[in-house]
């Protein structure tokens, strides 16, 4: 095995094992940032030693043992430090109270609970949502700062700083490495789900940059969601979110055309939808429903996605059911965006005039003022009703509002089609 091969193998091992190692260490040292540093140190040791010694039989255990030794060193040193500080009469606060002897047993037990604790800590509300995303991808997804930076199209130092600050915030706020209980749990879980879905959406509908999809982010989010589904098996909304992501991901090949342009749901070649992912999505939705969670926001969105997934042709879509699901969703989490989607479903179920009626009540909505999908959808209704001149104005407006280059092309294309289809003024 060449050195390059070994490095690649180490990358792979790291990807597989890092979250478990960090989670196990965090429980001992009670500090996520420190746990990550220790795990990183172990990785550096592997990079130094494995090219010569060869890859050990159980690389995960090797990394864990190396990290443990470093943790024990740190604990000893900080205890020593503590004593010295005690001698000069100063008080040193330390979070590292657990005795070294407990280390081995603690590390092997309840690794799954540790992982769950790590998820909750990385997605703690004390952190900004950007920080939660970066930290979650770093600690749970095993991504390097460089990979995260590339995925979000920001400079690497920005992400590195974001992660450093996030770790410091967690330490300063003395966020305990614990599983939230009672009434706190639901709010904390929803913060976790939000982070995962944010990552997924950033990959699925890239809000910036030249590409419509960044598949790596979708995969990272899916992987995180699947991990969470096995850690928190009794939480219906976790399965709802996984169902939603699996079904949306099933369309990723079909929603980009040969020139990288977006293809909207109803125009997609459904034979290109990934049936394996659809099956997994429907199974996850069933799991959510069996747990009595079919009315949660993610499960409702998954149920809507499932309506599309079950229809072999666009005409087979159960639009009336989709309208009802959007109504339920709007009651749960009232939002103009949901109303906009409901307008689309209404138009499909009962004709564009019905959709237009609803969408016109949203025109004055301040939060939608610069949202490109409002004029885009309104333009579509007007187009279908034959009001081409008005439709053209709406498509052009939508094109001027979107930040995505591919989407802008699509909208300008539709505006152009409206212009061409209009009867030209007669010349005398």
């Amino acid at each position: 095995m060449t050195a390059t091969d070994t490095h690649r193998a180490i990358d792979a091992v790291w990807r597989i094992e890092s979250a478990r190692i960090i989670a196990g260490l965090a429980r001992i040292v009670r500090d996520v940032g420190l746990a990550e540093e220790l795990a990183q140190d172990a990785l550096v040791a592997a990079l130094e030693q494995w090219p010569n010694s060869g890859i050990p039989d159980n690389p995960g255990a090797w990394l864990m043992a190396a990290a443990k030794h470093r943790a024990i060193d740190r604990l000893r040193r900080s205890k020593l430090l503590e004593r010295k500080h005690g001698e000069i009469g100063r008080e040193l606060q330390t979070r590292q109270e657990m005795a070294v002897a407990d280390f081995d047993t603690a590390i092997d037990n309840d690794i799954e609970d540790d992982l769950l604790r790590l998820v909750f800590t990385a997605c703690h509300p004390v952190l900004s949502s950007e920080a939660r995303v970066a930290l979650t991808l770093r600690l749970l997804g095993g991504l390097t700062t460089d990979e995260i930076a590339r995925a979000f199209l920001v400079p690497e130092p920005t992400i590195a700083q974001r992660i450093v600050r996030a770790k410091r915030t967690l330490a300063d706020a003395r966020v305990p490495f614990e599983l939230p209980r009672g009434s706190d749990r639901a709010a904390r879980l929803s913060s976790v789900l939000e982070v995962i879905y944010l990552v997924f959406n950033e990959g699925y509908t890239a809000t910036a940059g030249g590409d419509w999809i960044r598949p790596a982010l979708c995969e990272d989010a899916l992987r995180l969601g699947r991990i969470l589904a096995e850690l928190a098996t009794n939480e219906p909304e976790v399965h709802g979110l996984v169902a939603l992501m699996e079904i949306q991901a099933s369309r990723s090949t079909a929603r980009v055309g040969p020139s990288g342009e977006p293809i909207l749901l109803l125009e997609q070649d459904r034979s290109r939808w990934d049936q394996l992912l659809i099956r997994r999505g429907l199974a996850a939705l069933e799991r959510a429903e069996k747990l009595g969670g079919d009315r949660g926001p993610y499960a409702l969105q998954a149920a809507i996605a499932a309506c599309h997934a079950r229809a072999h042709t666009p005409e087979q879509t159960d639009w009336a059911r989709i309208v009802a699901l959007y109504e339920a969703l709007a009651q749960l989490t009232p939002s103009p965006i949901i109303e906009l989607n409901r307008a689309v479903a209404l138009a499909m179920a009962f004709g564009p005039a019905a959709g237009l009626e609803l969408i016109d009540t949203l025109a004055s909505e301040p939060s939608l003022k610069s949202y490109h999908l409002l004029p885009s959808v309104r333009g579509d209704f007007l187009f279908k009703l034959g009001h081409l001149a008005e439709a053209q104005v709406e498509f052009e407006r939508a094109a001027s509002l979107t930040r995505n280059a591919r989407e802008r092309e699509l909208l300008l294309g539709r505006a152009q089609a409206c212009a061409e289809a209009q009867p030209r003024p007669r010349l005398h």
């Binding site: 598949p215 790596a216 969601g225 991990i227 096995e230 990723s252």
Partner: protein, 121 residues
């Protein structure tokens, strides 16, 4: 995708191996990487539908000439080929440990995704 190939008629795998494989799969499910998998029934029950010399014909097994058969498959969502190879190494290691004398291979093949069809710019 991983395809496990081995000689025909190797008999039933030992219980320890099946348990170890179950544990490995469980870990892969928990790490969010195992998307689907299956073991395949013996060649004796299979049928080959073949196009040859312009003729399509269905031929029932067993097929005595087959030296190696696909015994099972698994589909993973992974970041890199190396990660897949690492998984295959662990899988084969279990065979070495629990089924002395068994020989075979795990073939790691990538399933194309949307990123493998870059837009024609």
């Amino acid at each position: 995708m991983m395809l496990v190939k081995h000689a025909q008629d190797q008999g039933q795998p030992p219980k320890e191996l099946m348990e170890a494989i179950a544990k490995l799969s469980e870990e892969a499910v928990k790490s969010g990487t195992l998307v689907g998998s299956g073991g395949l029934s013996p060649m004796a029950t299979s049928t080959r539908v073949r196009l040859s010399h312009g003729q399509v014909a269905a031929l029932d097994g067993p097929f005595s000439e087959a030296k190696e058969v696909v015994g099972g498959f698994a589909i993973f969502d992974l970041k890199s080929k190396q990660e897949a190879v690492e998984g295959a190494l662990r899988f084969m290691e279990l065979h070495r440990k629990h089924w002395p004398g068994w020989e075979g291979e795990t073939e790691v093949r990538q399933i194309f995704g949307p990123e493998d069809f870059p837009p024609h710019k």
